[in-house]
Symmetry: C2
Subunit: 239 residues, 2 copies
DNA sequence: CAGTGGTCTAGACCACGGG
DNA sequence: CCGTGGTCTAGACCACTGT
């Protein structure tokens, strides 16, 4: 199997071989790849090498793993313009995807340290903490923690939080998102987010934090989101 | 070594151990970690396991590898607001980093397929293609391909392209970047970019494409950039 | 239950970096 | 030249999936 005429490592050749079968359409979105042991037989090599190829395809977002079920071809990315105030559900529907948001946990708690400063709070102030999971076409793609100010949205937990927060704010409190400060960077999924997303800790992810202001220019809430690295494309137009 | 009371895999324990030494400041920016074989001895395990820990720390951007030299603690990320029209050199200096841009290759060529559409060109039209590498504090962090329209910037290659393109446009052609369409997503470094950046093909990266317009609203050029995934934080403020 | 991926061992040889 | 990481072999056992 080892090439005699080049220095290209075997796992890159196998990677290219697999990628070609995906890009040509021979393997389509959602299709399952052969098992690792079958791939070993096909390419006459060991699992270590096969897994190196698979890991690289995973890093580029072409395939993903489902724990102990196998490797699958990644669906198209959802794209979003963070400077537009459109919500997740609208976004999905516009792109022909089926959205779902599930509230995992909602409670009043002492403000986490990394949230204290952006929200301009004191060490023992309380915030509503909502842990939510977002799906597109049944696939969990974003784990999201909203930190909301009780001063702005008292009794928040009485409302249905499985839908759009934007709408709850608007309907019950007359508050509208008007501006925000957004920061994001590539990193890997921390343990708690990985557990919620049903993926392995340490996979690459895009961490996105958002400090939202209402129509009066007051701080409204602070979100920390972890997006699957393979599920998202960001588009921004400036004028 | 295997824990008797938990199910946490060894490589995650080692990862946490290393991460603690970095976050506590015991290992500082730019410091070299012990060699993989030394780490094997320290943690009484094999290279496979050690390399799994290292790979995860690399994915989260905490450490990076320098080919056959070892593993190092990653410097702070450069941050940038893509909606502001500030150039790379200004950006670096504002953040106390030393910028450098190097022209790797500049030539007139037939428009690449993936660039044809955004630039609104025909299949055999010509563009200037500039391949450039950007450094912060001597570390290559971004590989950049500019595709420029000869109609807008005739004789472009006669000018010094190792600095800011913005300034060349302004000084020699009276053209100013005024708006843009930006799209980016996490993926992995393709071979040609990896070679230029001096890193391994397949490492995670942020691919960023930018379609620029001049002050007359005309398409000016199209950039494709690959940023090291560990070197960049993006910040956007909306109003 | 059989099959899958997740984790791990204990080696090997190579190409390249730096003194 | 030696030490480094890069690649690869040929196994092993486990936890979990789906039937």
């Amino acid at each position: 199997m080892k090439s005699l005429t080049t220095d290209i490592p075997q796992y890159l050749l196998i990677k290219a071989e697999l990628q070609a079968r995906i890009q040509s359409g021979a393997l389509k979105t959602g299709d399952k790849l052969p098992s690792e042991r079958e791939l070993c037989a096909i390419f006459t090599t060991t699992r270590t090498t096969i897994r190196e190829s698979l890991a690289q395809l995973e890093a580029s977002g072409v395939i993903y793993r489902s724990d102990r079920r196998g490797w699958f071809v990644t669906p198209a990315r959802l794209w979003l313009d963070p400077t537009q105030n459109t919500n997740f559900h609208k976004l999905c529907l516009e792109q022909g995807r089926e959205p779902k948001t599930v509230l995992l946990n909602g409670r009043l708690t002492t403000v986490p340290l990394d949230v204290m400063k952006p929200l301009e709070l004191q060490p023992f102030d309380q915030v509503y903490l909502l842990a939510r999971l977002r799906y597109a076409d049944g696939r969990a793609i974003c784990y999201c923690e909203n930190h909301c100010l009780p001063a702005r949205v008292p009794e928040l937990l009485r409302h249905d939080l499985n839908g759009s927060l934007t709408e709850v704010y608007q309907t019950h409190y007359g508050l509208t998102y008007t501006s925000m400060h957004l920061t994001f960077f590539p990193t890997s999924v921390p343990a708690h987010a990985a557990a919620a997303l049903g993926i392995m800790e340490g996979l690459p992810a895009l961490q996105l934090s958002r400090l939202n202001y209402d129509q009066h220019g007051r701080v409204l809430d602070y979100d920390i989101e972890y997006w699957r690295h393979d599920s998202l494309r960001i588009e921004v137009t400036t004028h």
